[in-house]
């Protein structure tokens, strides 16, 4: 029986009316229904976390001089895809942005824009996924907001998260810190998130299911810092993929980076899907991968550390910083030829033939 069947219940005196468990405009009204939603769904999911109190804001105790602060919005379609969902993405994405600053992720806010008609059980599933991801990443969801828009004026759920992390070391991690000779370490195989989402969205199926790499990167990054790896720069690979991240870093630093095609890990199913769709995996989105620029003398140690963590087990040394003549990113192809890597003009589209 569907939830909507409850609409047929007649409002007689003795029988209490059970409302359909879908989001209505009343859930954003500021009244009792909204408070009940927050209590049942969000406090229910996040309540075990220390600061999840019903207040206008969260009061945080910081015992650190430097913090990192970031924000990001999530509008993924579909909401659930192999290897993740919008909730996990919203936590991991913000955790990863903090981690890339060398910060230990500590606190996070979350704002939902819900479309009228969304099933509440869908929202519950997302909230619980956020809670799991936050627990795993060691971050607390401390404050939040909910708004409801009319049906057709949103897409089920949009989430915005912001995060604060503490910086407990003296390193400055930034593109302008990269030096000639630095090793470029990639934390694992690329392209899984983009292919998982597009397969799920378009109903494409492959022999082996491709799951998103969506994961929080705080733990492997903290492990590198604790081992006193002198990280010069880090970047998580999101939209635009590995190629775009490296080009951004090379342009910011005005340096040259050379990477070898044969060293870049791409799983067989992702390669096959990219061949089929005419995509270049170097430009396909990731949600749990990063590149780190470290001194060549610490490259092996950094690789060993990363390979002890579940989501960076497949870490590889893919290239090095070549200096400032020429600048930009160069790919050494498997055939031994070279070509520059540029940013794409827009998103990749499947080719016609």
């Amino acid at each position: 029986m569907s939830d909507n069947s409850n609409r047929d219940v007649q409002p007689s005196c003795a029988t209490p009316v059970t409302r359909p468990r879908v989001i209505t405009l009343a859930h954003g009204s500021g009244g009792r229904i909204m408070h009940d939603l927050i209590q049942d769904v969000f406090i229910g999911a996040f309540g075990g976390q220390e600061k999840a109190q019903r207040h206008d804001g969260a009061v945080l105790d910081m015992a650190t001089e430097r913090i990192a602060f970031t924000t990001d919005s999530y509008v993924v379609d579909p909401l659930f895809f192999p290897g993740g969902d919008i909730g996990k993405l919203a936590v991991c994405g913000t955790v990863n942005d903090l981690a890339m600053c060398g910060a230990r992720p500590r606190w996070m806010s979350v704002a939902f824009i819900l479309e009228e008609g969304l099933q509440i059980k869908t929202l519950e599933r997302i909230a619980l996924s956020m809670r799991d991801s936050a627990d795993h990443a060691g971050v607390s969801l401390v404050t939040g907001d909910t708004k409801v828009v009319e049906k057709g004026r949103g897409h089920k759920v949009f989430i915005t998260t912001a995060g604060i992390g503490s910086i407990d070391h003296g390193l400055v991690i930034s593109p302008d810190r990269i030096r000639a000779g630095d090793a470029v370490v990639l934390s694992g195989d690329i392209g899984r998130h983009g292919i998982a989402v597009i397969s799920s969205r378009q109903g494409l199926s492959f022999e082996t299911e491709i799951t998103s790499d969506c994961a929080a990167l705080g733990n492997p990054v903290m492990a590198l810092l604790e081992a006193e790896i002198e990280i010069h720069c880090m970047r998580d690979l999101t939209r635009g993929g590995l190629a775009t991240s490296l080009v951004e870093i090379a342009e910011s630093a005005n340096m040259g980076i050379q990477i070898a095609e044969s060293r870049i890990p791409v799983s067989q199913p992702v390669r096959a899907a990219c061949e089929l769709l005419g995509f270049d995996p170097m430009y396909v989105a990731n949600e749990g991968r990063f590149v780190a620029f470290v001194p060549q003398t610490q490259a092996d140690q950094a690789l060993s550390i990363l390979r002890t963590h579940g989501n960076s087990q497949g870490a590889e040394l893919i290239g090095e910083v070549t200096g400032n003549m020429p600048t930009g990113v160069t790919l050494l192809t498997s055939l031994g030829t070279q070509r520059p890597i540029h940013m794409l003009s827009g998103e990749q589209f499947p080719r016609i033939c």
Partner: protein, 363 residues
């Protein structure tokens, strides 16, 4: 990956590069017809493995590039109607017409769906009987049978709210147009393997004879392409002018008879306007009268629009092999994938876009 890695094996590629080096005694200019081949050559750097006396010229075989702005304008005009849903392949969405691209029309409210196959568009028509669904059928002989199959299926099932806006081209007339153009420097062709998978290659034999030129039907992987170049160079050095088939794992001389029969049933040849090349006789596939009910141009009153404005673009010269993208003074300066001036920059498989993406660019 089986059937991929073998054809990207560096040792085998080097072997053919050596064959070419040893065989070459003088300069030769070879044109690859297909945009997919251009893309593969520039992406894997095959031209870097060739002796400097071999010049690769990049032909007009990119369907997105050669689709005239007028066709895109018609697609936009159709999509902008309240009752029409326009279905298109993804890489057509960003290609500029005279005034805007399909993506902009979509942003302004046109109902545009990106599909992977004409059958997806037919499915949309079948499940949305209140919408008039137009599929933007672009491409060469490779994609045209799929379009024909969709129309034939629509007729069989009585799906009357489905139609095609066609911009489909034929390769052999374009080869002949290039060979008979003034100042043609092309000495051998790599024919497009996928086109020949459908059509076979017997129709290329009279062209090879008439113009005394070697033609090698070639695949798309680096090893295919370098082997195709080696076969062309060996013919040029030996003075032979035959049609050879490098892509034997996919292409038979007679092609795919079922696909050819379907093409003949649904489409007929007509004079065609190519972006960058102009009108080429009998180079376009349009719907036959028996299928007029599925021809969007005949079904709807599509307004004709202004012709392409004058532009400094030299894509016509590039598509004929007379210039390279890097010879153009606008390349990378006033012309880029974000702001294309003409045919060869508008699609990722156009020669200028491939050079822009895979080569150092003046900015």
């Amino acid at each position: 990956m089986k059937f991929i890695d073998e054809y990207r094996d560096p040792k085998s590629v080097t072997l053919y590069a050596d064959v070419i080096s040893k065989a070459t005694t003088r300069p030769w200019s070879i044109m690859e017809i297909c945009g997919g081949q251009t893309h593969a050559i520039v992406r894997s750097g095959i031209d870097q493995l060739l002796p400097p006396s071999i010049t690769l010229l990049h032909g007009p075989g990119c369907p997105v590039c050669v689709t005239p702005a007028e066709s895109i304008d018609k697609a936009i005009a159709l999509a902008s109607r309240d009752d029409i849903t326009l279905c298109s392949f993804g890489d057509m969405i960003r290609v500029p017409g005279s005034t805007q691209d399909i993506a902009s029309a979509k942003a302004l409210g046109a109902d545009v769906r990106m599909v992977y196959s004409p059958m997806d568009a037919l499915e949309i028509a079948a499940t949305n009987p209140d919408r008039k669904v137009v599929f933007f059928a672009i491409g060469f002989e490779t994609t045209a049978p799929g379009n024909a199959a969709a129309v034939a299926e629509a007729k069989r099932c009585g799906i009357r709210n489905f139609s095609l806006l066609t911009s489909q081209f034929l390769v052999p007339p374009a080869i002949e147009a290039i060979l008979s153009s003034e100042g043609c420097t092309v000495q051998a062709f790599l024919a497009a393997g996928h086109v020949c998978t459908i059509m076979g290659y017997d129709e290329y034999e009279p062209i090879a004879q008439r113009y005394r030129i070697p033609i090698v039907v070639t695949g798309f992987e680096p090893l295919d392409i370098i082997q195709g170049i080696a076969m062309a160079v060996l013919q040029l050095e030996q003075g032979t002018t035959t049609v050879e088939n490098q892509y034997v794992r996919a292409v038979r001389r007679e092609g795919n008879p079922s696909a050819k029969a379907l093409l003949k049933e649904v489409f007929e040849a007509a004079d065609g306007l190519w972006r960058g090349l102009g009108v080429i006789p009998a180079s376009r596939l349009r719907l036959r009268d028996e299928y007029a009910a599925f021809d969007a141009e005949r079904k709807f009153d599509v307004k004709t629009v202004a012709a392409e404005s004058h532009s400094p673009c030299v894509s016509g010269e590039i598509l004929k092999g007379r210039l390279k993208p890097s010879d153009c003074p606008e390349f990378g300066i006033h012309c880029s994938p974000e702001h294309p001036l003409g045919a060869t920059m508008v699609s990722s498989e156009g020669a200028c876009a491939a050079y822009y993406r895979y080569r150092a660019v003046r900015k």
